[in-house]
């Protein structure tokens, strides 16, 4: 038995295909990204070593920090919207008939590609023929805004489809966690005379704290990496008003062919994501494990 299960050749045959693919296509590019960041390079011609210049320029680049600021705004919006999702989940988990159907309806947008979502919402926001302004004009609004063309509204306009896309995902996670709470705990609280609101806030919420932390990390890190939807909806415009870190990096590399600088920005994106993840984990770390 042991002889068969520790045969080196068999182990290699089973683990190497996956390990090689992940090493070559996931890890080596990350190291290369840091390395290319040290070069002046257009992606095709010869590389020229310029030391830390790209990284220093990146740290001084106003456009980069502007895009980072937009990414962080989206992260804050996304985190705040978790409260809405959590409220909906608390309602759903309180013995509502048809909660299964509701959950599945909420999940539908999550299954669609960001490109399709972006194209659909471009139409929703269309100033003259979109459904949003049609509704607003029916309600008596005389001059409805131009949404995606308005620099002061564009981030908000992008955030609505994000909310729409991820609602079902977070509701699903919260609902599963809430359903895991033993019924006996809730019954005991009821016998002691707790109101439904008290049960939700004082018993259910503390019990799913761990899950809430995970979703906060997901929402923030996900927002920092956000790309597809924004790239298709606005391309970062108008005039950089909706540029985020990933779209800025993409433009540097594949529109301006500044691969060296783009790599440096890509590497900064990785570092920022890892630092933020680490900080949230640190802040929210709990040493007490919840026991029922």
């Amino acid at each position: 038995m042991n002889k068969v299960m520790s045969n080196r050749l068999s182990i290699a045959i089973y683990v190497l295909p996956a390990l090689l693919l992940v090493t070559i296509l996931v890890f080596i590019p990350l190291i290369l990204s840091a390395y290319y960041g040290l070069m002046k390079w257009d992606g095709i011609g010869a590389m020229e070593f310029i030391g830390l210049e790209n990284y220093i320029n990146g740290i001084k680049d106003e456009k980069f920090w502007n895009s980072a600021y937009h990414s962080f705004l989206l992260a804050i919006f996304s985190t705040l919207s978790l409260a809405v999702y959590l409220t909906v989940s608390l309602i759903l988990a309180s013995k509502i008939k048809g909660s299964d159907l509701f959950r599945k309806i909420y999940l539908i947008p999550m299954l669609l590609s960001s490109v399709a979502i972006a194209q659909l919402w471009i139409k929703v926001y269309n100033p003259s023929n979109g459904i949003l302004n049609a509704i607003l004009m029916n309600l008596g609004v005389k001059n409805p805004p131009a949404w995606l063309a308005d620099p002061s509204l564009v981030l908000l306009a992008i955030f609505i489809p994000i909310l729409w896309q991820y609602a079902g995902f977070y509701i699903l996670i919260y609902y599963a966690a809430l359903k895991n709470i033993p019924e006996s705990l809730i019954e005991a609280a009821k016998i002691d005379g707790a109101t439904p609101t008290q049960i939700a806030l004082k018993i259910k919420l503390p019990l799913i704290k761990e899950v809430v932390v995970v979703t906060v990390v997901l929402a923030i890190v996900g927002s920092l990496k956000y790309f597809d939807l924004i790239y298709v909806m606005t391309g970062g415009g108008p005039n950089g008003a909706s540029e985020v870190m990933a779209s800025y990096m993409y433009k540097l590399a594949f529109s301006s062919y500044d691969f060296g600088y783009g790599s440096a920005i890509g590497f900064l994106l990785l570092v920022i994501t890892l630092i933020v993840t680490f900080i949230i984990r640190k802040i929210t770390a709990t040493d007490e494990q919840v026991e029922y």
Partner: protein, 273 residues
């Protein structure tokens, strides 16, 4: 009073459901209209006649090609991902070797990588080996980037498989490969179907890799294809609507038939950023 409270709760849940559904219903309605009807009529009016020709027009105008590319690229990547992930999970959980913990750790770190940080080096690597504008680059990239999440989903199931089965198989003189392909793989079908569903959603909806590595129309998948296509049909809303509906239909159909698997897959993929 209590009844009224429940009524309010239902109303709020229904409002959320409408918010989720109305844009999609509106999309379906205008995919069957022509511009005159869309621009002049009420947004929720039913089409005066069902213009399925919108669908036929875009299908023949190129969307059909993108659709087939999406189908074969998605399917091939799913097969490779699930096979390689199953093999690696088998080696990590069942075989005895010193580095298994370290290798598992590597796969788990792979879950956290933002793809944009790897995009430029991947592009230059594929350029060097002549795989730019070749769908093979897409298939292997999808496989590599979905392996960590697939392994993570498989892992829990493999830990619960009883060891007696392997022992019995080996005592009976079964080779390790026969045991894996004839006994272990069939036993893991329930969890494999979850990983297939989640891989299908990721691959079908992926955009950045195809947009970066593929330039020929004949290799483009739906996400990138519709992006170009809609550029050409800028003003023809019916055609755009039909294109979008075609692109989301397979996933919606999969959801209708396997909704429990989809729910399971999405919940277990929650760790992926």
């Amino acid at each position: 009073m209590k009844r009224f409270g429940y009524f309010l709760l239902y109303v709020s849940l229904t409002v959320v459901a409408l918010f989720q559904l109305v844009p999609l219903i509106w999309l379906f309605l205008f995919s069957l209209k022509d511009n005159r009807e869309i621009f002049a009529g009420s947004p929720f009016a039913l089409p005066s006649e069902l213009r399925w020709q919108n669908y036929l027009k875009v299908w023949e105008g190129g969307v059909g090609t993108y659709f087939f590319n999406s189908v074969w690229i998605t399917s091939l990547a799913i097969i490779l991902t699930v096979l390689f992930a199953s093999m690696a999970t088998f080696a990590i959980t069942r075989m005895k070797w010193k580095w298994s913990g370290f290798v598992l750790g590597l796969f788990m770190v792979g879950l956290m990588i933002p793809i944009h940080s790897a995009l430029i080096p991947l592009f230059s690597m594929f350029l060097k080996v002549n795989l730019i504008d070749n769908p093979i680059s897409i298939v292997i990239t999808y496989t590599a980037y979905n392996l960590p999440i697939t392994i993570m989903i498989l892992l829990g199931f493999y830990y619960t498989l009883p060891r007696e089965i392997e022992e019995a198989a080996i005592i009976d003189g079964c080779s390790i490969h026969r045991m894996f392909f004839r006994i272990i793989l069939p036993m893991t079908t329930p969890v494999i179907s979850t990983t297939v569903v989640i891989n299908m959603i990721y691959n079908w909806n992926e955009f950045v890799f195809v947009n970066t590595f593929i330039s020929s129309d004949k290799y483009k998948t739906l996400t990138v294809g519709i992006q170009n296509f809609i550029g050409q049909y800028m003003t023809d809303w019916g055609a755009i609507g039909a294109t979008l509906i075609i692109s989301v239909l397979p996933i919606i159909i999969a959801f209708i038939f396997f909704s429990n698997k989809v729910v399971e897959g999405i919940s277990s993929s929650a760790v992926k950023g």
